[in-house]
């Protein structure tokens, strides 16, 4: 099997500002990559480019073996059905209930009867522990709950790749930990390839040092000396370029001044 996502010398410009200047990286299948950078460094742009929501000004992007830079919008819809995305502000449809939000893709595709769809919605909402909110509207939920519903909506069809855009952005530390726990659970239970964009290094280090304990049904620290079953690597962006590409141990050992200041 090829890589889940490949960025090959991608360039992206907004007006006269070059946001991505020759970005190249790979996301192997079954692995997780965390992308970091300061605000405005192009992290969210990378996810939108990967989904084909924007077209780059240069380079190529392959998702699940297909070059999204050459595909028309109509052809991208089919590919997007295999990709799940959690947006920065959840992006729930505010005129639909939680049930209809989570079931949106299933209803659009006509996947099953109403009862079958409801069953799958319950399964997805129980994964994020929000079964009781099915008939509520997004405006009645807290920020953390909306983020969890967004995760349920992204995972309901068991996509092959997941994109998380600042999943803990704007949340308090306790709620952030809840979200990270869900991401770790999704990673370890379903082994889905994932690109995680964040400005919070502590979230990625939490993911690197913990695993989902299925017996205890919660996140737990990895035993000393052990690594997660699912490899987690880091990518750091600066001024449109990748300045670091490696795992947590390499990141901590880095002698680059900017990186040392970033992780301090």
């Amino acid at each position: 099997m090829g890589d889940a996502v490949v960025f090959d010398d991608v360039v992206m410009q907004f007006d006269r500002e070059v946001v991505l200047n020759g970005i190249s990286f790979r996301l192997p299948r079954g692995e997780t990559r965390a992308i970091f950078g300061v605000a405005g460094s192009g992290k969210s742009t990378i996810l939108k480019l990967a989904l084909g929501l924007m077209k780059p000004d240069g380079g190529h992007i392959h998702v699940l073996g297909q070059d999204v830079t050459l595909m028309k919008e109509e052809d991208l819809f089919e590919l997007r059905r295999k990709v799940g995305m959690v947006f920065q502000e959840s992006a729930l449809f505010d005129s639909l209930t939680v049930h209809d939000n989570v079931a949106f893709r299933l209803m659009e595709e006509g996947s099953g009867t109403e009862e079958e769809i409801e069953e799958r919605v319950r399964e997805a909402l129980s994964f994020v522990e929000l079964e009781h909110t099915m008939s509520m509207f997004p405006s009645e939920l807290s920020g953390g709950m909306r983020r969890r519903v967004a995760i349920a909506r992204a995972i309901i069809t068991h996509p092959e790749v997941l994109f998380y855009d600042s999943p803990t952005g704007g949340l308090d530390p306790v709620t952030s930990t809840t979200i990270v726990e869900l991401i770790v659970k999704q990673r370890d239970v379903y082994k889905t390839s994932a690109l995680l964009v964040s400005h919070r290094l502590q979230d990625a280090f939490t993911m690197a040092k913990n695993h989902f304990d299925r017996k205890a049904n919660r996140m737990a620290p990895l035993p000393p000396g052990e690594r997660s079953e699912v490899p987690l690597s880091f990518l750091i962006l600066r001024e449109g370029k990748v300045i670091f590409d490696g795992d947590a141990a390499e990141l901590v050992r880095s002698r680059d001044e900017y990186i040392r200041e970033y992780i301090a």
Partner: protein, 260 residues
């Protein structure tokens, strides 16, 4: 305020026209492509058609009444008060019904579409829809365009009838005109050109209202301020276009069919 160069301004305007044309073209082309969102279209018909009934009824009624009031004095000088029915009838059916109904519906619905879709754009709901494999033009724009085109046709018919009723009220209560005489003259004066002209315009205006509203909504940028700007622009541009297109359509139909 940042000054923009004339060439940059011209480029922006041309690009806007191009993007609008693409949106309008695709909204029609989507009729022939699956999936078709029948339930969403029916929901929009209810919101746009039934929802606009109160303002259309009031607009039609009082427009017919005021036409009768204003023309009564002049007609009376020539002893031609009995022609009031004809004036209200031709005026409402050919021009006032379609144009004023179009302007009312534009004010209510073009702005509503722009604000609803604009809010969805700035909160990334449109991106989320695309990410979930659904074409927002098929799901959101085409149902609105179809609904407005169809419902404006019927709303104008209702406005015309209410206009005639308004004129009848003025003719009967204030001018002492016999109701039978009013309705006979109103009915008999109408020829095929009047009715055809009055019913060709609503679908055109409906298309303008929906495509302009959806275009400004889908192009909204810059948070709540951008949505507010899009809402205002949608209403203003659709209203101006209705009035301008009315002139050209009327001229074209007169050339093609002759004047009454």
């Amino acid at each position: 305020m940042e000054l923009i160069s004339p060439s940059e301004l011209a480029r922006e305007k041309v690009q806007s026209v191009q993007e609008y044309s693409l949106l309008a073209g695709r909204s029609i082309a989507n009729l022939f492509r699956k999936p078709r969102y029948v339930a969403d279209t029916l929901q929009q018909m209810d919101s746009i058609g039934v929802g606009s009934l109160p303002i259309v009824v009031l607009t039609g009624f009082f427009t017919g009444a005021v036409v009768a009031l204003n023309t009564a004095a002049s007609l009376n000088k020539f002893g031609a008060l009995s022609l009031i029915g004809q004036l209200v009838s031709v005026g409402m059916v050919r021009e006032l019904g379609p144009v004023l109904t179009g302007l009312m519906v534009a004010g209510r619905n073009a702005s509503g579409m722009a604000s609803e879709l604009g809010s969805m754009v700035v909160t990334e709901q449109i991106d989320a829809m695309r990410a979930l494999g659904t074409d927002p033009l098929k799901k959101l724009v085409t149902p609105r365009v179809i609904s407005t085109v169809v419902m404006l046709f019927f709303l104008v018919i209702i406005a015309d009838l209410l206009g005639l009723l308004g004129g009848n009220m003025v003719a009967g209560w204030f001018l002492g005109l016999d109701s039978h005489a009013y309705w006979s003259s109103a009915w008999q004066t109408l020829v095929f050109q009047d009715v055809f002209m009055g019913l060709v315009k609503p679908p055109i205006f409906g298309f303008i209202i929906a495509t302009i509203g959806c275009y400004y909504g889908m192009s909204a940028r810059g948070g709540t301020q951008g949505v507010g700007k899009a809402t205002t622009e949608a209403m203003v541009v659709s209203s101006i276009l209705i009035i301008a297109v009315d002139f050209f359509v009327t001229r074209l139909l007169i050339v093609l069919m002759g004047y009454r």
